[in-house]
C-alpha cells in the first residue's frame, strides 16, 4: 500500500489548483462556495454565461473528457490525474468538469466505443464544448427496473428508422438537443437482444416533450412521446440488436465514484458547520451526543466510500476490470443521501420546516431542497433494491429471483 503521490502527480495537483484559483466561477466566496445554498436549476440558468466560460477554459486545458483518447479530442489523461482533478475541483466547489452532463457521463463514452468515425466527428466536439446537451431515453412507463422489457419501437423504412412509443423520467429533456434512445427493433428476439440504440435530434418532427413536476417543485424531467419520428439509419449507435451492450458499457463508465465521494465530503463539511451554528435547547447541536453519533457514523461511511473507491481505482490501475462490486458504493451513497437530509433537518429543529424564501430559512433552504431531491439520485440509475440484487446474484452467487 502506498498513499503518496509522485512528484509529477503533485505538480499536476498544483497546476489544477492554480487553474481553479483563476477560473472557478465559484471562487472567492458566494453562497455556493460557502456551502450555504446549492445551485438549483434557476440559478444555474442565470449563471449560464459564466458556466460557458468555465467550460471553455477547461476545454483549452484538455480537461473536459479528461480520460478520453486524444484522437477524439479528449485529454488522454491517466486515472490518478483524473482523480486529482475531480478531488481538487470538488474541494474548490467548482461546477462540473464540463457542462454537457450526460454527453460526458455516458453518451460520449458510448460513441467513442461503438460509434462510426463520422459519428465521433459529428458529436464529440459539441459535447466537449458544451454546444449540445443530451438526454437519455431509457425508462418507459412500463419499464423501470426491468429496463430490458422496453417497448418503444423502431421499424426500418428504407434508410430510416420510424420510432413510435413513449419514454419517461427523461431528465433535462426540455433543454437537450439530442437524446440517446433505446428502442425495440426486433420484437421476436430475446428481450435483451432485440434492442437498438439510436441518436435522436430532439427537434425531429413527431417528438413531443411534456415536462413533469418533481416533489421538490422543480421540473427536471419529462415524458417524451415519439409519433412516427423518422431518424436516418446513420444515427444508429452500434449494430442493430446491440443496444443493450452499448448501454451496459456506457453505464459502466465512471465507476470509482470519486466525484460522488467529493460531493459527500462537501455535504458533511456543510453539515458540520450547520451543527456548530444551530442551537437546540440552549446548546450547539454539535454538542448533542446523539447528533455526534449520527455525524460520526456518516463520516465513517463517506470515508469507507472514498477508500473503497481507491481500491477500485487500484484495480483499474493494475489492469483489472471492475464490475458489480461498484454497487457497494451505490448502496452506501443511497443511505447517506437520505440520512444527510434527515440529520440536517433535525439539527435545524423547527427551522427545518422552512424552505427557500421563507423568513428564517437557514442556508436559503439548501437542506430542505436536499431532503426533497435525494430520491432522484437514489432511484435514478438503478434503485437500491436493484443494487442489492446485483450484489446478491453477481457477487454472492445467489439465485436470480426472476
Amino acid at each position: 500500500m502506498d498513499f503518496s503521490f509522485s512528484e509529477r502527480e503533485e505538480a499536476f495537483r498544483r497546476e489544477v489548483r492554480e487553474f481553479l484559483a483563476a477560473n472557478n466561477p465559484n471562487r472567492g466566496g458566494g453562497a455556493a462556495a460557502r456551502g450555504e445554498g446549492e445551485d438549483d436549476l434557476e440559478s444555474a440558468m442565470d449563471r449560464l454565461p459564466k458556466l460557458l466560460a468555465w467550460n471553455q477554459a477547461l476545454v483549452e486545458k484538455g480537461w473536459v473528457g479528461f480520460h478520453w483518447p486524444r484522437e477524439v479530442g479528449g485529454g488522454g489523461g491517466g486515472l490518478i490525474e483524473q482523480m486529482i482533478l475531480k478531488q481538487e475541483s470538488g474541494k474548490a466547489r467548482a461546477p462540473m468538469l464540463g457542462l454537457s452532463y450526460m454527453g460526458l457521463a455516458w453518451v460520449g463514452p458510448g460513441i467513442i466505443k461503438y460509434g462510426t468515425e463520422q459519428q465521433k466527428r459529428r458529436f464529440i466536439p459539441a459535447i466537449l464544448e458544451a454546444r449540445e446537451h443530451w438526454c437519455t431515453g431509457y425508462s418507459e412507463p412500463g419499464s423501470g427496473s426491468d429496463l430490458a422489457s422496453l417497448r418503444c419501437s423502431a421499424v426500418r423504412d428504407g434508410d430510416h428508422y420510424v420510432i413510435s412509443g413513449q419514454k419517461t423520467w427523461t431528465s433535462l429533456a426540455m433543454w437537450s438537443q439530442w437524446m440517446i434512445l433505446l428502442v425495440r427493433t426486433d420484437p421476436a428476439a430475446p428481450k435483451h437482444r432485440g434492442i437498438t440504440c439510436l441518436l435522436v435530434p430532439m427537434d425531429a418532427a413527431g417528438v413531443e416533450v411534456r415536462p413533469i413536476k418533481a416533489m421538490n417543485g422543480e421540473t427536471p424531467f419529462a415524458e417524451v412521446f415519439f409519433n412516427d419520428v423518422r431518424v436516418p439509419v446513420e444515427n444508429r449507435l452500434g449494430a442493430e440488436g446491440q443496444g443493450w451492450d452499448v448501454t451496459k458499457h456506457a453505464l459502466a463508465n465512471e465507476r470509482s465514484s470519486i466525484a460522488e465521494v467529493t460531493a459527500m465530503v462537501n455535504h458533511l463539511d456543510d453539515l458540520e458547520r450547520l451543527a456548530k451554528k444551530c442551537k437546540s435547547n440552549g446548546r450547539a447541536a454539535i454538542e448533542d451526543p446523539l447528533v455526534r453519533q449520527r455525524l460520526a457514523r456518516m463520516k465513517t461511511m463517506v470515508e469507507a466510500m472514498r477508500l473503497t473507491g481507491l481500491r477500485f481505482l487500484t484495480k483499474q490501475l493494475r489492469g483489472d476490470e471492475i464490475g458489480a462490486e461498484t454497487s457497494v458504493n451505490k448502496l452506501l451513497r443511497a443511505e447517506l443521501e437520505v440520512e444527510i437530509g434527515r440529520l440536517a433537518l433535525d439539527i435545524e429543529g423547527r427551522y427545518g420546516a422552512l424552505v427557500k424564501g421563507s423568513p428564517g430559512a437557514i442556508d436559503n433552504g439548501k437542506w430542505q431542497r436536499q431532503a426533497l431531491t435525494w430520491p432522484s439520485y437514489v432511484i435514478g440509475g438503478g434503485t437500491p433494491n436493484i443494487q442489492r440484487n446485483v450484489i446478491a446474484e453477481r457477487l454472492l452467487g445467489l439465485p436470480h429471483d426472476v
Binding site: 502506498d2 482523480m83 458540520e272 455526534r292 460520526a296 463520516k299 477508500l307 490501475l317 439465485p399
Partner: protein, 371 residues
Amino acid sequence: MDFGFSADQEQLRAQVRRFLDSECPMDRVRQIMAAKEPHDRGLWSKIAELGWPALTIAEPYGGLGLAWEDLVVIAEEMGRSLFPSPLLAGAVAARVIAQMGSEGQQARWLPQAASGDLIATLAVLEESDDLSAAGVQLVAETNGEQVLLSGRKMFVAHAQAADLLLVAAREHGGVSLFAVPAHAAGVTVTPLRLIDRSQRAAMVALEAVAVDHADRIGAPGAAWPDLAGAMDAGTVALAAEMVGAADAALRLAVEYAKVRKQFGQPIGRFQGVKHRLAEILVDIESSRSLVYFASWAVDHQQDPRAAVSMAKAYASQALDRAGEEGIQVHGAIGFTWECDAHLYYKHGRYCRNLGGSPEYHHERLLVAQGL
C-alpha cells in the same frame, strides 16, 4: 497511490489460509474451545515455525521486519477461521517493547517473542473498564531498588498463556509500564468465562509484586501516549479479525441459502433473504477498506486515531449484522450448538466492546478531528 495488497502479501494470505484450513478447521476450533488448556501449544509451535509471531518484529531481533498491514492479512484469515491464538496479543506487546523499550530490553525479549518461546500480553484495563489513562490506577510504589505493584487488571487477553505481562501502573501522577513475569510471586491469574469461547482472557491480581527499575519500559509516568498508540494498532488487528469472521459468517449463510429449499425453491432466491445478505457484504467491503487503510495509517500517520476509530466502529457493524443475520438465515438450526452460526455471533458480541464500542469510537473520531 496503490491501495491493494502486493503479490507477497497475497502469497502470505494464501499460505495462512492453507495452514488454517488444514490445521485448524472448525471441528479443531471447537476442540480448543472445549479444552481446559490455556492455549494449543501444538498449533502455537507450528505457527512459530511459519514465522507468524516474528512477522512484525525487527530483523536485528530475529523478526521478519514486516509492517502492520502484513499482520492484518494474517488477522483477517484468523478471524475467518475463528482461530484461537495469543498471536495478536503478542504482536501488540512486541510493538510496545519495540517502540518504548531500551535496546537492552528489546534484545532481552524480542528475539524470544519472535521465535515463539515467549508469549507476552498487555495488562492495562482495570475493573473500571475505562479505556483512558485515568483507568490505570494499579499502584506502583518505589521501595529502594525495587518497585512494588499492587492492584487488579481485568480482561487481560490470553493472560493464561502468557509468560510476560506488560502491566500499566500509576506512578508519578502518570502511567508507567512494567514487564512482569506471569509466574512472579504475588501474581494471580484467574481465567474469565467468556461469551465467546474461541477467546481467552483473565483477571490478573498483583499483590505487592516486586520488579526492578530495569523492568520499567519507557520513562516513569510517561508511558501512556506510546502505549495508547500500540493499543490502537491492536484495535486495527482486532478489526481485521472481525472482518474475516464477518465474511465467514456471511459465506456460511450464503451457502445455506443456496441449498435450503422452502416453498419449492432455494431461500436465497427470496429478496427478504438475499437483500439482507447483500447488505452484509456492503458492510464487509466497507470495513475492509477502512481496516486496510488503518493498518497503513498506524505505521505512517502521525495521529491515526481517526482511521482506527472508523475501522473499529464499522467492523463492529459488519460482524454484528453478519452474526445476527447468519443465525436467522439458518432458521431453527441456526441456534443449535451444532451449527457454526452462533460461533461468529458470539465472537461479534465479544469483540464489539473490546477496545471500545462503536459509540465510543464515533465520539473519539469527532474528538480526533477537533470537533
